[in-house]
């Protein structure tokens, strides 16, 4: 009897494994999408895709992690999709590390990264920053260490010979600092990107980048694990067609930012844009 007690747990695990395997065979309808929580445009697009696919009878699971972790997971053939790859500049280096990924389509064309200041700041170009370094307290408020934007900013500091230090913590800390500075009408320079709801919520502008350190317009793309298109050809088609223009994107981002329930907001947005969604779902 005592022996049986020790066998209980392994047997339980075995039963679950068998059950789980049976489940996996019939559930090719399960789709996992990696998402970086805090990237407004990625969160918004991922939730819209989930709302559409759930209606089509799929079961979409959103996995929250950082960019590199998601890419590594896709490279292992585990996570199916990631809708937030910025090319040709921001994520080029990260993507080169994982050759086993497939490009499915472009979701948005006018992505832009760079240094951002509030509109009332009377500086227009990165080259002018050194003349006003005391007003900015020698600081550029950055996002996470290791992000493509952070690396770009480090390069900008060297190439423009800026007498500034980049302060890195997290995206949300950067936005909080920015909001506080605007409330107090202080000068502040942050690293930012478009599309993002902060441009709808606050009056901001990009600083000109004559040396093109931050590149030009960027595309946001969907990438998948290697054999995804083979397993789900109809979905590969859908993601190749899915595309937001400027108007749709800023409308979606504003609605997402104002809502507490992202899933419900995404569903509502899909219902309101049925023609657009239908054109993505068309088989031809």
């Amino acid at each position: 009897m005592k022996r049986l007690k020790y066998l209980f747990f392994p047997v339980l695990m075995l039963i679950f494994t068998v059950l789980n395997s049976c489940e996996n065979i019939k559930n090719s309808k399960y789709i996992t999408i990696g998402m970086v929580d805090g990237w407004a445009e990625d969160v918004a697009m991922t939730h819209v895709a989930k709302a559409i696919l759930d209606k089509q009878g799929y079961h979409v699971i959103i996995q929250k992690a950082s960019t590199d972790m998601i890419l590594a997971s896709m490279n292992n053939e585990d996570t199916d999709l990631f809708m937030g790859v910025w090319l040709p500049y921001t994520h080029a280096k990260k993507l080169a590390k994982f050759p086993g990924l497939t490009h499915l389509g472009t979701n948005y064309d006018n992505g832009r990264i760079g240094l951002v200041v509030p509109e009332y700041v009377t500086v227009h170009s990165i080259e002018e920053l050194n003349q006003h370094k005391d007003q900015f307290r020698h600081r550029i408020i950055g996002i996470e260490k290791g992000a493509g934007l952070t690396t770009g900013t480090d390069k900008a500091i060297i190439d423009y010979k800026l007498d500034y230090k980049q302060v890195n913590s997290s995206t949300i800390a950067m936005i909080t600092e920015l909001q506080n500075a605007i409330q107090r009408k202080e000068w502040i320079v942050v690293t930012g990107w478009q599309p993002h709801w902060m441009f709808g919520k606050m009056k901001l502008k990009f600083l000109d980048d004559p040396k093109k350190i931050f590149g030009e317009a960027e595309q946001i793309k969907t990438y998948s694990r290697k054999s995804f298109a083979k397993d789900h050809s109809e979905l590969a088609k859908f993601f190749s067609k899915l595309h937001f223009d400027d108007e749709n994107m800023s409308d979606l981002l504003m609605k997402m930012e104002q809502s507490k329930n992202k899933e419900a907001t995404a569903q509502q947005w899909v219902d309101d844009h049925s023609e657009l969604v239908q054109s993505w779902l068309d088989k031809n």
């Binding site: 494994t17 990696g34 996995q63 929250k64 992690a65 998601i70 292992n76 585990d78 997290s170 949300i172």
Partner: protein, 275 residues
């Protein structure tokens, strides 16, 4: 940034080699881990909430007295009313599997370290490394081996939560009075009998303290595991942080605290009963 010694390069090479060549092994572990966590999660989320609250309340009443039983019932009801029940059960499943696995690995290691001087010399620095290496560092190999999801979360949690169980097992067995062991030997007890009939029962209180510490440490890893899509309360805490949602962050944090108090008092109760 001049590097004269590049240890990181060797570590990276080793990890990459493991990732490429260990895939079949990791896949089996991933599958086993996923099934057991998912299975326990399934049981916990499909059992009606009042049954689970009742179970924990009775367990608390039996092991930790009336006061804690009231706290347990009230705390778990609060979690349910805050709408974080599903996440709490996910976290509980992750802790359960991580703790069980950590104990299966660490108690034999602790016994080994108590029995052999050489083993202790090897195990001790390893434990120091596991406990002091910043937990985020484990996330990188965890994701390379097991992708994102629950299993790498459990993996990182196990590494972080194992050491106290190993240390306290060793401590407990070393503290067994030598004359009792001698007496048992004089009556002709084998090594095996001495371990199971004399040393382990006498060391049990210390070992249970180690188990209690392991459970609490695995709880503190939950938020970090949330960064690699392990789900549960950790993900909710991060969601609160990433969206400047102070309310959500506080509520999920509070749920972690409630869970910690309940698990701590109940396991403490097991220790006290041993006296």
């Amino acid at each position: 940034m001049n590097k004269t010694i590049d240890i990181g390069q060797y570590v990276e090479t080793a990890i990459n080699w493991l990732t490429e060549n260990g895939k079949p092994v990791f896949d089996v572990i991933k599958h086993l881990g996923n099934s057991s966590i998912m299975g326990i999660e399934w049981v916990l989320t499909n059992t009606p909430f009042y049954v689970i609250i009742l179970f924990f309340t009775l367990l608390a009443l039996w092991k930790a007295g009336k006061g804690i039983a009231v706290v347990t019932a009230a705390g778990l009801s609060l979690i349910f009313l805050m709408g974080l029940w599903k996440e709490t059960m996910e976290t509980l499943a992750l802790i359960f599997v991580s703790t069980i696995t950590a104990l299966i690995l660490s108690i034999p290691l602790g016994i080994l370290a108590a029995k052999s001087k050489i083993a202790e010399k090897i195990i001790r620095p390893l434990l120091d490394l596991m406990q002091t290496m910043p937990a985020f560092v484990y996330l990188i190999p965890a994701v390379l081996f097991f992708s994102i999801g629950k299993v790498p979360g459990a993996f990182a949690t196990i590494i972080f939560a194992m050491p106290p169980a190993v240390r306290l097992t060793t401590l407990g067995i070393e503290a067994v009075p030598k004359d009792i062991v001698e007496a048992a030997r004089a009556f002709g007890a084998t090594n095996r009998q001495i371990l199971f009939k004399v040393e382990l029962p006498l060391a049990m209180k210390t070992i249970l303290t180690g188990i209690n510490q392991t459970i609490l440490l695995s709880l503190s890893m939950v938020v970090i595991a949330g960064m690699i899509a392990a789900g549960g309360l950790g993900e909710k805490v991060l969601e609160g942080i990433n969206n400047l949602d102070i309310g959500l962050g506080f509520e999920s944090g509070l749920s972690v605290v409630i869970l910690a108090i309940i698990l701590d008092r109940i396991t403490q109760g097991f220790v006290k009963k041993k006296q």
